[in-house]
């Protein structure tokens, strides 16, 4: 069955989440991925939005992290402090992130290109990203995969990944055991080596070669001997996405 790149990203992201856990959800792909996970392998995944929506059924697609659909038929409509403090207490398992740049340690930039005070490009800023990247157990980044974005050194660490390597998060005072978990791109699924904290290729997307991934990455990736290939979206996944989750095609 035909599918577009967004549908592929959504399906791969959705497969990263375990059932009966919680995920901090932004609008766009993470939200669709969470909705898909809830309709497939993770019906009791609890979705949490940063301004207070907790446990929505995601029957309606939110357009904004503070919007009314984030708590439509939710279990709680609370506040940003409540939700962020839950994350600070260690209650939120997954967090989704994006950004303009990512480096080999999973540090993310969504603030500026160039000098901070007179930037070449100004991006929106951290928003909740720094909090999510600091406080959730596992963060999943969703990125376009090219050398402008996958860089040796990000211009600005908006959101901490493993900073400059093993132990650096803990040394900075960030909660132990947290950090980047997966990077989902249009080319591949990536993780992080347990010891070196370097980004590691886990699987290529259908039709993509390891070489293509390397060519589009501005730093050296760990390439294991055996690289899996991600399964394409199943017809059931596509049906759910198109007919139930986003029938108005707002995002896909």
């Amino acid at each position: 069955m035909e599918y577009n790149p967004t549908e592929l990203l959504i399906c791969i992201a959705s497969r990263q989440m375990e059932d009966r856990t919680s995920a901090f959800i932004g609008t766009g792909i993470p939200m669709l991925a969470a909705a898909l996970a809830k309709k497939t392998h993770a019906p009791e995944l609890a979705v949490v939005f940063e301004f207070g929506g907790i446990g929505s059924l995601l029957e309606l697609l939110p357009l904004a992290v503070g919007g009314s659909r984030t708590f439509y038929k939710a279990l709680a409509a609370s506040s940003i402090c409540d939700v962020m403090e839950a994350a600070q207490r260690g209650l939120i398992e997954y967090g989704f992130l994006g950004g303009a740049q990512i480096d080999m340690y999973g540090n993310l930039n969504s603030t500026v290109i160039g000098d901070h005070d007179r930037p070449k490009v100004r991006f929106p800023g951290s928003g909740g990203a720094n909090d999510i990247g600091s406080l959730c157990w596992k963060t999943i980044s969703i990125m376009r995969h090219d050398r402008r974005r996958f860089v040796e050194k990000v211009d600005f660490i908006t959101t901490p990944g493993y900073l400059n390597g093993p132990g650096a998060r803990e040394k900075a005072g960030l909660p132990a055991g947290t950090g980047p978990y997966r990077v989902v791109t249009d080319l591949a699924l990536l993780g992080f080596d347990e010891t070196s904290r370097w980004m590691k290729l886990l699987a290529v997307n259908p039709g993509i070669t390891v070489e293509q991934v390397k060519e589009n990455t501005g730093f050296e990736l760990i390439i294991p001997d055996k690289v899996e290939e991600n399964a394409p979206p199943s017809s059931e996944e596509l049906r759910l996405l198109r007919e139930e989750i986003d029938p108005g095609r707002l995002y896909i």
């Binding site: 357009l63 904004a64 951290s126 928003g127 720094n130 600091s134 660490i157 005072g173």
Partner: protein, 324 residues
């Protein structure tokens, strides 16, 4: 618990709970006084050039737009702003009124970046200090507590910290590193609510965002409200009062006051108008034209609502709102 690091960002407003105590004692009143006034009077009285201003909520949701437009009409200059609202903050920047910004996020989520922020930041015209969403909410919470800072586990290790005005210390109980966020007691806060009485006792439906904290972290507080209700109704459901009257300086009746943003349970966001604004915001000249037409070109919120489509448009966005 010595200070290990300090961000290089400017602290626009030094936390000073002792001064705030004196100020609040002198200026806040527990009198049950009718505070209803229009946008013009409220902004004239309670917003001043150079003020440090904050708004609630986030994105295009429950935003005090009618108050923001009036600030632009009155040309309040040199504002310092806590940038966790979005659309109402952006129009202030677009009108050239903001000199310094404690920024968390300015953009339109799935609708894309903020052209206004890009121009203001890339030209160097706007001085920006970085924070995270939670950090700014917690800074207001610290002020609401009446203390100079809150310790947190966010911001650590990042450039967001380096370009903030936070500090890192060692915890005297656990030895761990903590980020200390300085309290922000705003000169003036703006919140759009579902309903309140003439004294300012206010109720909100749905998520409360950071309304609770911002209301308590504002020396002056202006509420705009979809509806004014009786004090008897307030007294019947005192557990629904999120913002009590003694925090409030002005009550502005502003139906559809969040337009083009949405208001939970009441009306959906006006996608058509929002896209029109975003398109206009691409270039300085078209931004200026937008402001001329929709802000400077109208006297008040009623004229604005007429201009954006009147009853027909309002009924339409009302019809799109979801109930509970």
């Amino acid at each position: 618990m010595k200070v290990l690091e300090t961000g290089r960002g400017e602290l626009f407003l030094r936390p000073d709970p002792a001064a705030d105590r004196e100020w609040l004692r002198r200026n806040k009143s527990w009198a049950l006084k009718n505070k209803v006034m229009d946008e013009k009077e409220a902004i004239e009285k309670f917003v001043h050039d150079g003020d440090y201003l904050g708004t609630e909520l986030y994105g295009t949701v429950r935003c005090p737009m009618s108050l923001a437009r009036e600030i632009i009409r009155q040309g309040k200059k040199n504002l310092r702003v806590a940038g966790q609202g979005i659309m109402e903050i952006e129009v202030l920047i677009a009108a050239g009124l903001v000199s310094k910004l404690d920024l968390t996020y300015l953009g339109y989520e799935v609708l894309g970046l903020s052209y206004v922020l890009r121009r203001a930041a890339e030209s160097g015209q706007l001085k920006i200090v970085e924070w995270s969403n939670a950090a700014l909410a917690w800074r207001l919470k610290a002020a609401a507590l009446g203390v100079p800072f809150l310790p947190v586990k966010s911001m650590l290790g990042s450039d967001t910290f380096n370009y903030s005005a936070a500090k890192v210390v060692e915890c005297p109980f656990t030895g761990e590193k903590l980020c200390l966020l300085p309290a922000t007691m705003l000169d003036v806060g703006l919140i759009h609510v579902h309903r309140c009485d003439v004294y300012g006792n206010a109720q909100l439906d749905g998520i409360s965002g950071f309304a609770f904290e911002l209301a308590r972290a504002s020396r002056r507080l202006i509420l705009s409200t979809e509806e004014i209700i009786s004090t008897d109704e307030i007294r019947k459901y005192p557990d629904r009062t999120i913002i009590p009257y003694y925090l409030v300086d002005a009550v502005v009746e502003a139906p559809f006051g969040s337009h083009p943003g949405e208001m939970y349970y009441l009306y959906w966001r006006d996608e058509e108008h929002l896209r029109q604004y975003l398109e206009a915001s691409r270039e300085p000249q078209t931004t200026e034209e937008y402001l001329r037409k929709y802000v400077y070109g109208v006297k008040n919120n009623a004229e604005y609502l007429e201009l954006i489509g009147g009853e027909e448009k309002l009924n339409y966005i009302r019809s799109l709102a979801k109930g509970r």
